[in-house]
Symmetry: C2
Subunit: 393 residues, 2 copies
């Protein structure tokens, strides 16, 4: 029978664990930032050590007087981050500070449904256990490529995930791994990854825009994911670009995704294949084109592909310009398959946002490409789990 892993017993213990997640602290330093008497603070720290959540780490440098004891998260803490994409699964195991210890990636098809896909994910977690990365997990975070009811821990009417509607992902994974679990959509967990370990580390309020099969946005307010009242915040793919556009899968015309989502890009690529040597050749060989083919063509300097990307970037920029005026973020990060299109795309987005948003909102606003790549998802999923476990009981 598995041992039950400890969780913080009080709000103070949870707050201490969140501080220790960033680095080791001396007891004296902790006393400076938490609102507890010295004896109560030492009691809570000692209790965290008893619970195997924290451990002593020698003595701090002297601040005058007796040297204070250092405390850090227990070296035995382990979280897993599971990032389920439309066509792949990434699983990582991290320590308490959410540094990746082991990471495996496998192809999958999310349309095979939750039983097959979650079984594969559990086997991948098992491989990491067999490789010695953990014996017991303290928490698991899962990202899925569709809308999620965060409170209920399940996907809700996800368009790309047949069979997953209201499937109890959180409950299933929690029972299977014997630890607390949390589920969110892939864009939110990638935003959390950027917050924890990426370009947004020092930024409280930022937007994370993922351009892939769909187009979505993670919104971080005051260092926390903002999900909106029904959990759909950040769903920007169906914001109107103009009234005379292609018809979108949602039934409206002129949505951003109808211009620059994965399906739209594949359609446009096929339409220009006659004028593009690279895409034409590729279409003859494989019979179909994807957004990634457009990226590859653009990288090789194919003028028609570059034009497609510029047009798409301009439209993403138009939507983002409005959101930047509205939200006044401290940073915008662009990521996702299409973001591999890189600097052509970024230049176009920047040019529109800097021209069309309020000067006060763009004065100090960096717009950058994500640097974390596939790590953003797994680190973010581990962070989601850690936030959940290190929260007040």
């Amino acid at each position: 029978m598995k041992r039950i892993t400890a969780r913080p017993e009080t709000a103070h213990q949870a707050a201490l664990l969140r501080l220790l997640r960033d680095r080791a602290w001396s007891r004296a330093e902790l006393g400076d930032v938490v609102d507890l008497s010295r004896s109560k603070l030492n009691f809570e720290i000692d209790r965290l050590i008893e619970l195997n959540l924290a451990e002593q780490a020698g003595l701090a440098a002297s601040r005058g007087g007796r040297r204070s004891g250092m405390v850090r998260l227990a070296g035995s803490l382990r979280f897993t981050g599971i990032d389920i994409g439309a066509t792949s699964i990434d699983v990582a195991v991290t320590d308490g500070e959410l540094k990746i210890l082991g990471h495996v990636s496998e192809p999958c098809d999310v349309r095979d449904g939750p039983v097959i896909v979650l079984n594969q994910a559990m086997e991948m977690v098992g491989k990491l256990r067999d490789q010695g990365y953990f014996t017991q997990l303290h928490g698991a975070g899962i990202g899925v490529p569709g809308p999620v009811s965060f409170r209920e821990g399940m996907p809700v009417a996800p368009p790309l995930m047949p069979g997953w509607d209201r499937y109890p992902v959180r409950e299933t994974v929690g029972q299977e791994l014997g630890c607390p679990a949390a589920v969110d959509n892939d864009v939110n967990i990638m935003a959390l990854g950027e917050l924890h370990a990426g370009l947004a580390k020092q930024v409280d309020d930022f937007l994370f825009v993922k351009i892939g099969t769909g187009i979505g946005c993670g919104i971080v307010v005051d260092g926390k994911i903002y999900r909106g009242v029904s959990g759909s915040a950040g769903d920007i793919g169906h914001i109107r670009v103009d009234d005379q556009g292609p018809t979108c899968a949602c039934g409206n015309v002129g949505c951003l995704e109808a211009y620059f989502g994965g399906a739209a890009l594949a359609r446009e690529a096929t339409a220009i294949a006659g004028r593009s040597p690279y895409l034409g050749e590729r279409l003859r060989r494989t019979g179909t084109l994807t957004g990634e083919d457009v990226a590859a063509a653009a990288e090789m300097g194919d003028a028609e592909a570059v034009r497609l990307i510029r047009d798409g970037g301009r439209r993403v920029g138009m939507v983002l310009a409005g959101l930047v005026s509205f939200f006044n973020p401290g940073l915008v990060i662009i990521a996702g398959g299409v973001a591999k299109l890189g600097h052509v795309l970024l230049a176009e987005i920047r040019s529109v946002v800097y021209r069309r948003s309020l000067p006060l909102a763009t004065g100090n606003l960096p717009i950058v490409l994500s640097e974390l790549g596939a790590d953003a998802g797994v680190i973010g999923a581990a962070r989601l789990s850690s936030d959940h476990v290190f929260s007040a009981p």
Copy 2:
């Protein structure tokens, strides 16, 4: 010499005062919701009573055992809310629960600059003192019709307020009234008014859209105003409606304000005056037309005026539809001079938002007209002040 009014000494005292702002509580009930031992709680409450911030209010109904003492905010607490508009000043004095005790309203011209306008506001506060509504104020909140650096307590490059740029409004008012002061823009304070006493009372995340000379939006996240990293969040007047529109004062084309701000509405009204009996007559008499004339004409059933309002409402709806998909609010409130256009405007906005936003975001989304009117500004300004004074030291 004036007596210095007390402020809470600890974060716990501040939290207790914020609870007491909503209603009277028994000590037992407070013990259920705050994370304090019984003796520490009683110590903090007794201290608030000593400081003349709270007072005893008899005994609570029995919950079994000894009856618990009721506590409420001190009856002597007084805040003032000062709402400076482009052409009027509203000043109110409230009690600690922010109920309006006295309210005066006077015309003014904000372009006369801060010395003349703030002097007039101070005289209006003096009138309320002379009428016996207070002897000493515990805090003052001020709203102004332009962008504000909330941290610095001053307007920053406000387009409609010549002479006010970086004028130390918070410092001046605080010194003049001998109490802590706080300053924000008019849209944010009206949103706070709705949060405290209006339709948003039970709503944590909502948008407050003011359509007047300019078009702005107050954003409330988790019961607090979200201001963005440089304080410009909610400035939606320059979001692009389309690429072939009128040129805006900001230099871009097709901004929302270029279609439906006060100046645009006046221009359009003049253009259609030949086809509109009411507007034509009004233009002959006064030589100029305003948005309020359009409202009056529409109310009388003038077809051309109604068409103007419908067109404007449709464009506000297009912008709002995107913001609703992005932000997934629990409520949208429409207010401001043009909002007096009422139900024609509201119907048009609703129709576009409900059609163009994500179904998940609009499923339970009410879009309503403000019911507070001029009270929203003064109550919100008092609330801003109360939030400031009842915050951790």
